[in-house]
């Protein structure tokens, strides 16, 4: 089995005489060729301890694998919050099925297999969601906003503005407050200082006058 042979090679560098040039060469070779191998043995030990309930080892293990998971997740997700969500999903899965890890086997493939399954599941779920739901864009958000719906540029709006300018100031103010800004009579009275009765009269007259101005325009 390859994993067994790898383990033995890792041990060779550990138990050899550190001062001998041969051991130094071996150590350098193992550090150059397979830095992940060293992690792998460490992680196996940490996970084996975690299975026995060692919280410190478990925390160290999860902290060490997180950057690695982040690089895996970043390959499949572009959004940063998606990447963090994916990492947390993988960590929770590792936690939930930590009893399936066999310490005699390498840790790396176990972790990568779980991570890949969860990442692919996540992408599928997102794909399904996107086919059914539409994300709100800036355009969607502008429509509910009040400013976007004021249609100042249209010709009807301009005609009404011009017609309003022809009204006497009192009537113009009454129409603006009550009709355009949609205030109640009480609010309009408070805002303008006029009595409710006079506002009513002013509005009535203003509307009659506007109707006349606009009908003349449409006749013409």
């Amino acid at each position: 089995m390859t994993s067994g042979r790898r383990h033995r090679r890792g041990w060779l560098t550990l138990v050899g005489d550190p001062s001998s040039p041969h051991a130094a060469g071996l150590r350098r070779a193992s550090a150059d060729e397979a830095p992940s191998l060293r992690y792998d043995v460490d992680w196996s030990i940490l996970m084996a301890r975690a299975q026995e309930g060692d919280g410190v080892a478990y925390r160290r293990l999860l902290e060490e694998v997180t950057p690695y998971l982040r690089s895996l997740a970043a390959r499949r997700h572009s959004d940063a919050s998606d990447v963090e969500d994916a990492i947390q999903d993988v960590l929770l899965t590792v936690h939930a099925i930590r009893n399936t890890y066999d310490p005699t086997r390498p840790f790396g493939p176990w972790l990568v297999a779980i991570a890949n399954r969860r990442l692919v599941d996540r992408l599928r779920r997102q794909g399904r969601m996107r086919s059914r739901e539409t994300a709100l864009t800036a355009a969607h958000e502008t429509f509910p906003a009040h400013q976007a719906n004021v249609d100042a540029g249209t010709s009807e709006g301009r005609v009404l503005e011009r017609a309003l300018e022809k009204l006497p100031p009192g009537q113009r103010q009454a129409v603006r407050l009550l009709k355009l800004e949609e205030m109640s009579l009480k609010e309009a009275a408070a805002a303008s200082g006029a009595s409710i009765a006079s506002l009513k009269v002013a509005t009535h007259r203003a509307l009659r006058k506007l109707r006349k101005i606009l009908s003349i325009r449409s006749d013409a």
Binding site: E52, E63, E84, A96
Partner: protein
């Protein structure tokens, strides 16, 4: 949203020791032992009277051995691929025996079509067949489901299909052990029909059943 370091902290703080899973071969053997137990209990109520005579027929003997081996191999494959780091090629393990099993049924159809006798299908026998079907497949399916629940976040569909194949093959073996199904239509129905039914149900409901028995922390997340 909780940050990743916080999550790690809370996972490590609430860590409880877990018992490692036994090797997949051992777990498959346990499940097969349960299957043997179920078959033995059913055998107490009576095996088919002409079994020794039928076993001399090579087609019948090969077919039954093949269905039994399909069950054994499919169970082993299901336990193997339920682990994250095992190769998916284990799925091919039961394939040769499955082919042998299906081809013996096909061979029987081609060479020796036994039509239903004059009485047609006996209602009593059919009911007993259904009883065997339920008594075998139900406990075995439930045991498989609980034993493989850790596969829920990994390969739910594949593992369920393999597990269902194991249950289906064992059930088909039980049916040919305990009931004299000599009419070819009956053999087809009770072998293939059962297999298709169980594998189909497994495929359809597998995901849902798994989410029901899945490890709890995944649920809190979802």
């Amino acid at each position: 949203m909780i940050t990743t370091p916080d999550l790690i902290g809370s996972l490590a703080a609430n860590l409880k020791p877990v018992r490692r899973l036994r090797p997949p071969a051992t777990r498959a053997a346990c499940w097969l032992l349960l299957a043997a137990l179920v078959l033995a209990l059913l055998a107490v109520s009576g095996i088919r009277p002409d079994l020794t005579q039928r076993l001399r027929d090579p087609t019948f003997a090969v077919g039954m051995a093949a269905s039994l081996l399909t069950g054994i191999f499919a169970a082993s494959a299901a336990f193997l691929i339920s682990l994250p780091d095992r190769s998916r090629l284990w799925l091919l393990l039961p394939a040769p025996m499955l082919i042998v099993w299906l081809s013996t049924i096909g061979y029987q159809c081609l060479t020796n079509w036994v039509s239903l006798d004059a009485d047609g299908i006996h209602l009593g026998e059919t009911v007993r067949c259904f009883a065997t079907l339920t008594l075998t497949s139900l406990p075995l399916s439930l045991a498989m489901l609980v034993m493989l629940r850790h596969a829920a976040p990994l390969r739910p569909t594949t593992v369920t299909l393999m597990g269902s194949l194991a249950v289906a093959a064992i059930t088909a073996t039980a049916l040919s052990l305990f009931h004299d199904l000599d009419a070819t239509v009956m053999i087809l129905m009770w072998n293939l029909g059962t297999a298709v039914l169980i594998v189909g149900l497994g495929g359809m409901l597998g995901r849902r059943m798994f989410s029901w028995v899945a490890p709890r922390s995944l649920h809190q997340r979802a």
